[in-house]
């Protein structure tokens, strides 16, 4: 297990080089640089532009810029944002909790609804419920997030006025950013109104971000459950005289969850991609939103650093999933 973990951690090195190279190349392929982006329509004297470029090192050959950046990152410095002049690392840390909060809510939503639905569909295979759910989940899994988010806003925020359109909490409340997780901070502050506001701001983004994983989890649970229900040990459990709930949940679902856990783990990478879109739609102040803005500002350090950090987190999460998988499946332990 330890050697396996070490090997996985070593994988971070090629990933690091690949991710930085890719994000570096892509952003430099986009016309313009941070200085031009700052100046915008106003224009700037060419001599001044050249001078600023030289100061920032943008006049160097590409490969040299890349190697310099690489050296800087390896020494633990992600640089300063060209817009705010704050360290990229600090900005990331202050924004990341918002992304975690949204992602955790979306995954919980998908797991808590998708798995029971998939299980019930398997137990009632061939019924209208089963067909209906599977039809809905095909639709859900192929839902374009942008369109879906806008539709939800149109219906629930604009027409019905049930939920707020954007942000994390209403401006009426000031909540001490204690943990960075708005729900927890509101809870701590003991302000019921703030809690309610934070929760209502979370609902739509959670649903929008959670829809695709929910559909996938439901389908995966259903097919895995169907397979497990035919297993001998399920018959044994029934032969013991256990209740249906116990047979289906403790014996069948427990085994059916093993492949589902892998799907959940693998979906986390895609989820962070979806979070970028969702944060943009709902003006959710997380890292996704931050990275999108950094593209507009050609904020090289933020874009490259942010992408790198997200890549490392995805690797970390996948590692965690592998560990969890071995806990869940006794057959591969030891």
């Amino acid at each position: 297990m330890l050697r396996y973990l070490l090997r996985r951690i070593m994988l971070i090195i090629p990933t690091f080089v690949g991710v930085t190279l890719l994000s570096f190349t892509l952003i430099h392929l986009v016309p313009g640089d941070p200085i031009e982006a700052r100046v915008g329509e106003r224009g700037i004297a060419p001599e001044r532009l050249a001078q600023l470029r030289a100061e920032m090192g943008y006049d160097q050959p590409m490969w040299k810029q890349f190697l310099d950046y690489e050296r800087q990152v390896v020494s633990g410095d992600l640089g300063l944002s060209t817009v705010t002049h704050q360290p990229v690392w600090h900005e990331f840390l202050s924004l990341f909790p918002a992304t975690i909060e949204l992602s955790v809510c979306a995954v919980s939503f998908a797991v808590l609804i998708g798995i029971p639905l998939g299980m019930i569909a398997a137990l009632r295979r061939g019924t209208a419920f089963d067909f209906g759910l599977m039809g809905a989940s095909v639709t859900g899994a192929s839902m374009p997030i942008f369109w879906w988010g806008l539709m939800m806003i149109l219906v629930f925020s604009v027409s019905l006025g049930w939920t707020p359109v954007s942000g994390r909490v209403s401006d009426m409340y000031f909540v001490e950013p204690w943990s960075g997780f708005m729900l927890l901070d509101c809870w701590w502050s003991d302000d019921e109104g703030a809690c309610r506001s934070a929760a209502s701001h979370l609902i739509l983004p959670t649903i929008v971000l959670g829809t695709i994983p929910l559909a996938n989890f439901a389908r995966m649970t259903r097919s895995s459950m169907l397979e497990v229900l035919g297993e001998d040990y399920v018959r044994t459990a029934r032969a013991k005289g256990l209740s249906d709930v116990r047979v289906n949940v403790v014996h069948a679902l427990r085994n059916a969850l093993i492949p589902v856990a892998t799907v959940i783990g693998l979906s986390i990478g895609g989820l962070l991609g979806g979070a970028i879109l969702t944060e943009t739609i709902f003006a959710w102040p997380g890292v996704g939103h931050w990275i999108i803005e950094s593209i507009q500002a050609r904020d090289y350090p933020v874009l490259q650093g942010g992408t790198l950090l997200i890549a490392i987190i995805v690797i970390g999460v996948n590692l965690g999933v592998d560990v969890m998988y071995s806990v869940l499946n006794p057959r591969i332990r030891r």
Binding site: Y233, T236, K240, G241, H251, R254
Partner: protein
């Protein structure tokens, strides 16, 4: 009164190709302390008929019977919840495949404890002790440690012992063992059978033993039922059956025993195969493979003739008139 009494049991499966009677017209009678062996070729409906008695045939399989009584209680009229109080407690079953019959996600001791808890067989403070005692009872060395093993950490023979421990955990009055040794090594087979017979004697329970092996039948059974293509074709006391089989199929099975084929060049086999879903013959189901079959056999299905406990489903029984 018989402990388990089954009359005219039928199990029907519906598949894309239509309906298929896997079991048709099976009677079972077994008293406390009895050992009944059910023999027959693969696919003859041995497992399905016993699963039906246990109430383990899942939808869309359909079970019907004129009588299905355990200890005087009509099992068919019980609600599922009431039936669960009997199944697993008073009637227990050991299955064919020990390696897949235990849940891979839980330690074996936990799985035995679950049966004890489900039927409140012992107070919760005593559950652990009882699990250790049961494992010891079925011959698992170092039970205190072994109970924490997962099924994949044990051999097939050990797992089958665990299955047996689980089955006898609530002191059942009837134990159904469905080919409990088919998946095991020859050396282990004997041990497991001895264990079962030993437990049966010690606890005075009734034992239904499903097997392919006529040798096992001769050693263990008090009474025998022979099944063919979903039907019971003969039932008899063990000695009677071996001495004077009445159904030609039984006779053929016995002829195929190596002990009986002594001196012959090769073992006699029964020509042909058991009819499947689509090729059920008219008349007696065995007639295409039967050396004695005549026009009557291929036109009319024979009923069971003889007294309950000594009957054969044959128009032309061996050894004289039926």
């Amino acid at each position: 009164m018989a402990l388990l009494e089954v009359r005219n049991l039928a199990v029907e499966f519906t598949s894309s190709r239509g309906r298929f009677r896997a079991v048709d017209g099976v009677d079972v009678t077994i008293d406390s302390g009895d050992v009944l062996c059910i023999v027959g070729e693969s696919g003859s409906g041995k497992s399905v008929s016993m699963l039906a008695a246990m109430g383990l045939i899942a939808w869309p399989g359909k079970v019907t019977a004129d009588v299905l009584r355990f200890d005087g209680t009509d099992l068919l009229s019980l609600t599922p919840a009431q039936r669960r109080k009997v199944v697993g407690k008073d009637i227990a079953m050991v299955f064919q495949e020990p390696m897949t019959s235990l849940n891979p996600c839980y330690p074996v001791g936990w799985q035995i404890a679950e049966a004890l808890r489900a039927h409140h067989a012992v107070p919760s403070s005593k559950v652990r002790d009882r699990v250790v005692e049961l494992l010891d009872h079925v011959g698992i060395p170092d039970p205190g440690r072994r109970m924490n093993n997962f099924p994949h950490q044990m051999s097939g023979g050990m797992n089958q012992r665990v299955m047996i421990a689980m089955a006898i955990s609530c002191n059942p009055r009837l134990l159904i063992a469905d080919e409990p040794t088919t998946a095991l090594d020859v050396t282990i087979q004997k041990q497991i059978l001895d264990l079962l017979v030993d437990l049966q004697k010690k606890h005075g329970m009734a034992l239904v033993l499903i097997t392919h092996d006529m040798g096992v039948v001769a050693e263990t059974a008090h009474r025998v039922q022979v099944m063919y293509a979903g039907q019971m074709v003969e039932e008899a006391a063990t000695e009677t059956l071996f001495a004077a089989p009445r159904h030609p199929y039984t006779a053929a099975l016995l002829d195929a025993l190596p002990e009986r084929a002594m001196g012959r060049a090769r073992l006699p086999t029964i020509p042909g195969v058991v009819p499947g879903i689509d090729d059920r013959p008219t008349g007696c189901l065995f007639n295409p493979r039967c050396g004695l079959a005549d026009a009557l056999c291929s036109s009319t299905a024979p009923g069971l003739s003889g007294e309950v406990g000594a009957r054969a489903r044959c128009h032309r029984p061996l050894g004289g008139a039926a």
